[in-house]
Amino acid sequence: MDLRLQGIGHQYGSMEIMQDINLDIPAGKIVCIVGPSGCGKSTLLRIIGGLEKATSGRVIQIGEPPSESINPLTYIFQDFALLPWRTVEGNISLVLEDHGIRGSKANAIITDVLARTKLTDFRKAYPKQLSGGMKQRVAISRALAVKPAVMLMDEPLSALDSQTRELLMDDLINLWTREPFTAVYVTHNLNEAVRLGHSIVVLSRRPGKIREVVDIATPLADRKLGDVELERQQEHLWNLMREEAVEADKELIDV
């Protein structure tokens, strides 16, 4: 299942947030979205997943999601969004219950996703007993449990320290290598973008437009720390971002 964004524009009141976004999200690829703060990345992600209505344009689904997919468009939130009154297990079963999956079937899924995110020992723990990185892994395993066709991730690693972030990035790359998933990955962190993205969409300052799309051909599994090609791409992205930030500052001075 592919997604296509067609002429997406959005306004809050009279404030124009983004304009004319056209983008293809092919199945099995990770598309990263970077851009200056406030350019509408989170808003765009909410529009893609149907949590917000765009003022203009539409999001088109091309092809059917795989039949085993329980919740085709699934988010991973920056703030984890775990229910504090449910255990790890309860948080995962929450999203299965409503789709009629209970009992031993749910149990099997929970065991599987917890094993994949290395959380098996924390099945009965409450979120407050977990560290930030573990909470995000719970959120990732909850997303995996519903077998999404597309994962929509809004700065999933921003709340974490850099070591945990490295580890979780490796986890994501491993998950993807074993079983490629489709994802839209919003981030501030250009290093995350070049490590995880098959293509990187740079948005301009508000009103957000697509400034450039950078494709990176190196397979995810081969992207090592200190890779020259990646460093070059990252620098290129950084220059783009810096121009935007400088322009945004100038606009502030003009006002």
Partner: protein, 269 residues
């Protein structure tokens, strides 16, 4: 920083991170009660508190024992407890329902919030004569008064609690395509539960006040009637016996809610 020309002083950094985490020390409450009672007892015996100001705690206790032995205690207590239970259950369960409706639906919010704001400040006791006309002089009017009195604070506490439920959790529920009903029962209600329970504490205290008021205005039996009778005879021992029973009632209600909180909200601490 350290310079060899200067004498460097050493000093442990003071701890300044304490406080702001009150723990309930149960025995402390008993100690305070004990000292207050002992003080009054000694005062009345020694004489620096006159017998007209306060009765002796020991006399109050004897009066209480007499009340117990004569069986009159239950004759007063059972009707009072029934009124409290029936009235408060009706009032708070309706209040929670209406509060949730206000918290969830624009239509309910727009139409009911002004009504609630208008009836909240009315002293409900002032309406007792009206309730007597509507429901008769017997139990129903008392149930109605207590129910009405607990209803409004429960509504306000409940919709406030629903408003305060973390929106990002609700959005999470929607993003996993949970049904509306599931979002309400599995996310909104548990999230609002702390606020609802602390609202219930206030509502039930109000219920006890209204119970006494209703019983003072027209009841043969009940703690309120007992206190009124004692008051009109200036029998301070009995008056204070009644008051003490009310305090105990209040403490028990609060302890019950505390237990419910511990059960339902153990995820918080």
């Amino acid at each position: 920083m350290s310079n060899s020309n200067h004498v460097t002083t050493e000093k442990t950094i003071d701890f300044r991170g304490g406080g702001f985490a009150p723990k309930s020390k149960k025995w402390l409450g008993f100690v305070v009660f004990f000292f207050i009672l002992a003080f009054i007892e000694i005062g009345t015996r020694v004489g620096f508190i006159s017998n007209l100001t306060l009765p002796r705690p020991s006399d109050v206790f004897t009066t209480f024992l007499e009340l117990w032995e004569s069986g009159l205690l239950w004759e007063h207590l059972i009707p009072s407890l029934t009124r409290l239970f029936v009235g408060a259950s009706i009032g708070s369960s309706l209040g929670i329902c209406v509060g949730i409706l206000i918290g969830l639906f624009s239509l309910a919010r727009g139409s009911l919030v002004p009504v609630i704001a208008a009836i909240f400040p009315i002293p409900k006791i002032a309406l007792l004569p009206l309730f007597v006309i509507w429901f008769g002089i017997d139990e129903t009017s008392k149930y109605a008064l207590i129910a009405f009195g607990t209803f409004t604070p429960t509504v306000v506490a409940t919709y406030g609690a629903v408003d305060n439920v973390d929106r990002s959790l609700i959005r999470m529920g929607q993003s996993f395509s949970l049904s509306w009903f599931s979002i309400v029962t599995k996310i909104v209600l548990p999230g609002a539960m702390p606020g609802i329970l602390s609202g219930l504490r206030i509502s039930l205290a109000i219920a006890i006040i209204l119970l006494v008021a209703a019983e003072m205005l027209g009841a043969e039996y009940g703690i309120g009637a007992y206190i009124l009778e004692a008051g009109s005879l200036y029998n301070l021992e009995r008056l204070f016996t009644g008051v003490a029973i009310l305090s105990i009632l209040g403490v028990s209600v609060s302890a019950t809610i505390g237990m419910v909180e511990n059960r339902l909200l153990d995820w918080r601490t």
